[in-house]
Each structure stands twice: as C-alpha cells, then as structure tokens.
Symmetry: C2
Amino acid sequence: MTTSDLEHLISKRAAARYSSHFSQNTAPAHIKAHPEPLSLGGGMPHYGFFPVESIAVHLTDAPFSDKKLETLKADSKSKNPVIIPKVTDRPDDIIDLKNGLQYSYIQGLKPLLLFLKEFVQKVYPPAYNDWEVVLNNGAGNGLNKVCDLFLDPGDVVLVEEFTFTPFLQSVENCGGIPIPIKLDFQGKGLDYNHLKYELENWEILHPGLPLPKFLYTIPTGQNPTGLTQPLELRKKIYKLAEKFDFGILEDDPYGYLTLPPYKDVKSGKFDVDAPVTVDNFVKELAPSYLTIDTSKRVVRVETFSKVFAPGLRLGYIIANKSFIKAINNYSNISTRSPSGPSQFLVNNVIQHLGGIDGWLEWIIKVRREYIIRRNVMLDALYASDAYKKNLITVIDPDAGMFITVVINYDKSKYTPAEYKQLTSKNLFYKTIENGVAVVHGPNMAFDNLADEHCNFVRLTIASPPDHATITEATNRFTKSVEELFEEIEKT
Amino acid sequence: MTTSDLEHLISKRAAARYSSHFSQNTAPAHIKAHPEPLSLGGGMPHYGFFPVESIAVHLTDAPFSDKKLETLKADSKSKNPVIIPKVTDRPDDIIDLKNGLQYSYIQGLKPLLLFLKEFVQKVYPPAYNDWEVVLNNGAGNGLNKVCDLFLDPGDVVLVEEFTFTPFLQSVENCGGIPIPIKLDFQGKGLDYNHLKYELENWEILHPGLPLPKFLYTIPTGQNPTGLTQPLELRKKIYKLAEKFDFGILEDDPYGYLTLPPYKDVKSGKFDVDAPVTVDNFVKELAPSYLTIDTSKRVVRVETFSKVFAPGLRLGYIIANKSFIKAINNYSNISTRSPSGPSQFLVNNVIQHLGGIDGWLEWIIKVRREYIIRRNVMLDALYASDAYKKNLITVIDPDAGMFITVVINYDKSKYTPAEYKQLTSKNLFYKTIENGVAVVHGPNMAFDNLADEHCNFVRLTIASPPDHATITEATNRFTKSVEELFEEIEKT
C-alpha cells in the first residue's frame, strides 16, 4: 500500500499538460501593492452587461406531482420560487447571476463544490483525507476525461462484458485497448474469478499487452444488468487492483436508486409510503469504492442526470489531488468550466431544499417512484405467459432504472451466434410489430466473448409517462417473446 | 476553386471517428410497424422526474439598467418575465423544460439551431449553400474542437504573433506546430506581406515542416490589438488560403462590438444616442470570411459570451457539412450536447425579445455601452501627461473591448529583450504600486519573433463597474507609465 497519489498511472499525454499559458507575473516583496487595486486586465464583461436581472425557479413537490403552478400555496416553503438574484448576500451558499453568468473556475463554482465536498463526506467518505472533487459536463464527459487521465496509446482498460458501450469510443480515442471481463448474472455483477484468472495469466492470455491501467466498472445497478456488487466483492476486486497496480473507474449514475426486493414491496415488508430517514437511506446505499480506497486509486464519476435532469450536462469526479489536477489541465483546454446556469440551477435548488438533507429527501422521493415503477413492470412480467412458460428469466434489479430479461432459448438447439441473431433480429421485428422499443443485449455487448450471455433485453422504467404505459409496453414486449417462440417452435 | 467539402484537410484522428457505437438496427420493409409504439429503450428519465416545474427569467431593459425588479410595470412587454414552462405549445420556437432538461442532440436543440441558421443567413451569409451550424460549450471549446478537426501530430497552424494565447495549448494538445505571422500595427491586423512571404518561401524558412493546415485569425477587433481586417485584406488572405490549400479558423468574439472612430463620437458625427436600425447595424459589421468562402474552407467560431454572458459556456461553429460532421463525432465522445439550461436561457430570451431583430436590438444596446466606455478611456488616455509627452501611442480600436497602448521606449537605447523586460517587470511593478491591473504585451505574445512589437499593454473597457472607475484606473495606468519613464531617465 502506498500513500502517494499514484502519479505513475497518469498518461504521458495528461502529465505533459500545464495549467496556464499566461506567464505568472509576481512582484517582489519590496513593491508595495496599492490597497484598492482596479482591473483593466481580463476581458470579463461586467455583470451589468448581462441581459438577465433575476431568475425564479418554481419547484415541484415530488416527481410527477401534477399540481399546476397557480394552485400552489404561497406559504409552502419548498414551493415558493427559488430566486436567483443578480447579486446575493449569501455568496458562500448561493450562486448569483453575477458569478453564475461570468467566466469562472475550471473546477466549478465554489458554493456547489463546497456542497459536494460535504455531501461526499457524508454519503460515501473516502478512506483517505486529501481527496478532491471537480465538476464536469456530465458523466459522459467525466468518463472521457478519465480515459484521457489514464490512457496512452497501447494502454489497456478492463471493461465489463456488457456495459455502457459509448465508453468504448473514449477508450479508442485515447488509443486504449479495452479487454472484457465476464459478468456473473447469477451472482452480483463483475465475475471475480474471471478477473483474477485474466490478471494472473495475463502474459499468456494477452501476449504483448501491458497490464491494465484501470478497470471500468458500474458497480451499483450495473448497466444493463441492474446487478450490484456487494461490499465483500468490492474489497476482493480492490485487493486485485492493489496487487496488479491498476486504477478503478467507478461509474455510478444509478447508485441512489436502490431498489428493495420486489417481494418485500409486494408483501408490505417494505412500505413505499413509510417515511425514510435520510440516515437510513444513506446507510442502505451500496458503499462506493471510495470508502475502501486506502491507496488512492479510485476515480468516481457522478452525475446529476438521474436525480435532477440529464439536460444539465453536469456531473462531478472524486479522486486524489494529482488525478484531479491532471483532469483540470485537460478541462482547461477542452471544456473549460461547466455551464454556469446548470450550476446555479442545481446549487440553488439544493440550497432551497435545505442542503444535504433536503437534497437527499428529494432523491428519496425520486427513488420511491422508481421502486413503484419497478414493481409495476415486474407485476406485468410475472403475470405474462412468457414468464409462466419459462420463456424468460427476469433479473430483479438491486438498483437503477433497468430490468434485464433473459430470453430462454434452448441453448442445446442454437449456437451463440444463432441466438444472438434471434434476439437482435427476430425478436426485434416482433417488438416493432407490437410497438415497443427495447434495447437488445447484443447492442450492449462488448464483444464476441459476450455472445454466450447476450440472449437478453434491457427494459427501462425511467422513460414511460405513467404506470399504465409501463404495463402496456411490458405486455407488448412479453407478447413479442411469446410470438417469437411460437415462430421458433413452428420451424 | 473546388466545390468539395475539403475532406483532405480533416485530421486522420477526426476522420477515423464514427457517430455511434450502438448498432443501428432497422427492420425490413415487410415488417409492419405498430402505429403507436411505446418505448422501454433509452434510459431517459421522464420529465416528470425533474424537480423544476417552470422558470421565470426577468430581463433588464438595457445593460447597466439599475431599475429594481419590483418597480417594473407589468404591461412592459420586454420586462415581463420570460416563462420557461415544463411543456410548451410552441416547440418550434421555445425550448421547454421537457426538452431543455432532457438528454438531447449533440449539435444543440432545434429551436436555437433554427434561429442561428436564420441569423447567420441574415448577418453574414456564407458564399455557398449547404453550410451547417452546431452549438458547443463556448468559444474556447469551439477552438479546441477545430484544432482536433484539422491537426494531426506534426501539422502546422499559422497564428497571429499576438493572439489569444490559450489557443496554443489546444494546438499543442493535438501535436500541432504553431508558426507566428506578424501583425501590422499601423495597418489593419494580419500582415499580408509577411504571410505571403512565409508561404512562398515555406521550404526555405521551415525546412521539413509541411505547409500549414489552417490559419487561426481574430479578424475583427483582434485580441489584443483591437485591429480589424478590411474586406480587401480578407479577400487577399483568402486567395492565399486557396492557393496554398489551407483552412481559415475565424475566431470572432468581438465582431458585434463595432466601434466608430473616437473623433466621430467626440464631434457628434456619430451620435451614440441616435437610434440605430438593425439593417444599418448589420451593414456596418465587418464581413465574416464566410461571406467570401466559395471553396468552403472557413470555420467560424462564435460565442454568446460577449453579448449575453460568458458563464453560459455556449457558442457555435459554422462550417461545411463534412467539417461539422467530424466536429459532431468529436463532441459525441467529449462534451456531448451543450448545457440545456444555457440553451433555453439564450433561446427563450431571444425569442422573447422578438427573434433576430430583437436580439440585434439588444446587441446594439450592448455595443452602445462599449462605444461610450471606449471614449471614456480614450478621454483619460489623451488627457494624460504620458500621452502629451509622447510616452505612449494609443491604438483606437475598430471593435471589441480592448485598447492597446504602445509604450514608446527609445528603441535606439534598448534591445527588444530589454524593453520586453521594462514592460513585464518595471512597468508591472509600477502598476502594482498604483493599483491597476493590465495585460502586458509579452503575455499575449506568441514567441520571440514578437519581441520587437511587444512594448504594449492591453486595457479592457469591459470589466470596470462604471465610467468613473474606467477613468480612475486609466489615470493610474498613465501615472505608472510616467513614473516608469522618470525612473528610466534617472538611470
């Protein structure tokens, strides 16, 4: 175990960057600075040039609250509009228009960074002290920046066999080489034994390739499978990371959407309408890899997309200081700072809700809706003939917005290539006819290695407008499966 | 002249990218699609999950309008808040929260793109038809994306000897090699003769280097010099670009801030309070290189930073279709789409102001304030002893937010290295003591080639809060120059 910042894992490209092209002029001690200096330096338009005087943000009480704005009571604290003034008298908490619409810090605006530092410390405290947090332009941008951080051409990154495949383009863009690691569908995500086997036999299995620079994992509510790694598994994977000296990129967009088991909700053991305390909610979250990160090798990528809104294009990264510095140097030439309006919208709404606790209370409301929706979809799946005839196996997700349904082809009758085709072609046509869009397993697959498992589809509970639509769309899907099997049996 | 999209100028890196990793499944003709399909596909949270119900944006009448919000009359159209609803009934014009807070198109949201297409067509119509526009995360991000578009390692880019130096980091990041071209301080920006000489003697002057891939120029209100290239000069430079087959990156953050000559404003020949029609304003803008771009080699980078607000991190790029496609493929892995809140703020405010004409009317008001400020600063400069004693030469800018002041060192007494030192050290100390921050010429310089010209400072009229502060700060600056010369003469 080391207490360094693992600078040797930083790519040569990232390490070669520096923070600013402008020379830093400083005056020697004998020069007595004027007590009230004025600036004719940087080309920042004074906020008097901005066309906006103030912004009022009207909030909803809860997801899918259908109350019209005019019916809201003026005395309901959380419903009054959040006013974003041109200049605030609470600059430590509130991002005003003066700062929010101005050129600003690469790493993000201070009130939001301060909030995030406290939030991280409360919700998943890293196992070391001098970690840092930086805002970015959403998780997709965050993942790209982490690829840039680690990967020189020819470097290797380990990825889950089914994953958020757009990530692979960022790997390719850095000249990186992705190598897939199996998922354990019956277990809880990443297949530890396969990972260990790969690493211990690296030179034989991947002759000429260097050992991996980092592992990319979605450990909680994995996309697309919905699986969540238990803490014990994370500890074992982390030990491998230390032994073979690679970083861990923890992508966790779904972590706050923890879903209690379907049967517990059905039986009333878990009451969706019972109040949930913030502390209990936090306690039940799957622990981030950061909480066991004694050797500073974890980079956590977060996003406001799933619990606030995706269009913000706002997320954040937590990592050790050296990694964050390298990321900032990349931001400096690529994105610069994230959108000010996105930052003041998120920050000031969170402050209005009451800071950390108020924000977690909103997240609990979002999670409640996902629990209900998950049960609505599972109700429909379990009630279907497709399920009763064992044509499908349903994976009850631990977290997130996806339900994976495995299509039970007779594997003795078909080759992997054949049932891959059955899913992405024959079943696809049935869903077109029946009018339901789903994501077919092969589209989320890394590679051919995945073929033996790619007989599944991913269904989302996030996008339908209401519960009836979830039921109707799920019925269309199971009907498609039933028709597919009728067709298969005929031939 | 060619009518192709000059794909051969696209870097190998950019050309190798593709638009999506997801396989594009399509159904054959005999599959009859359901008339009302539902989606369980993409993981987009329904807008019912967003915590914001609506947003009201309160505008100001004009820059630095000090009217308080509560004094505004409800019947004043442009002062009523701009309401951004959850769902609009005018989706062609208005970006609502349903779309503005959702995952969205890489190139930007449709209402704003439509506006920009019309705006470009009216204000600086390109010389060919099938140009495209794409939104990005501010001009800094735009410049970085254009470097990626053109530059493979070892490729050459021409830059002005004094320039927006952060650009050079984006060049380096692509492995590009910047080569400086002189500015003609007595003329109107880029030194045509030097450019021509460099190109015609390329192999002798730069043995082993390939001919340049593109020229980076700030043709209007050049940063830092404030110089503006006349149309005739642009045409001559464009001819060289065609002859030597390179692209032109036109960076134009200041183009709308056209400044009539100081003396015309002083004499009343130009009346800052006289109404300016939108058509006259447009007619007097320096014409973009796009307007003469018959061979599709110009990439124009624009920003909302100077005429709306920098914190938006929102700008746009205009170029031919092939270039835009390559830029989109890069955005797809790096930034994704720009911030939705930034987009709906800009779009809906512009629509509220009345579209193109209303937006240009706002810009005219911004420009008016810059004209007044420019005159306030020149008043102070011309009234100074430093000016009267010929210690400084003032460049009256044609556009923008900067005034360049040349420090008239006795060039027979000092080497370029010495007066570079006098500016960035001795004068710098004087400004620290007198309490005024300025940008010293050497900080904006590309390189040693610039030394013979770097005896200047850049003053901005953008950031001071009011006119009195401009005067006071300018006086502190001229006092610093006077003290410097007293010191020089003593030694």
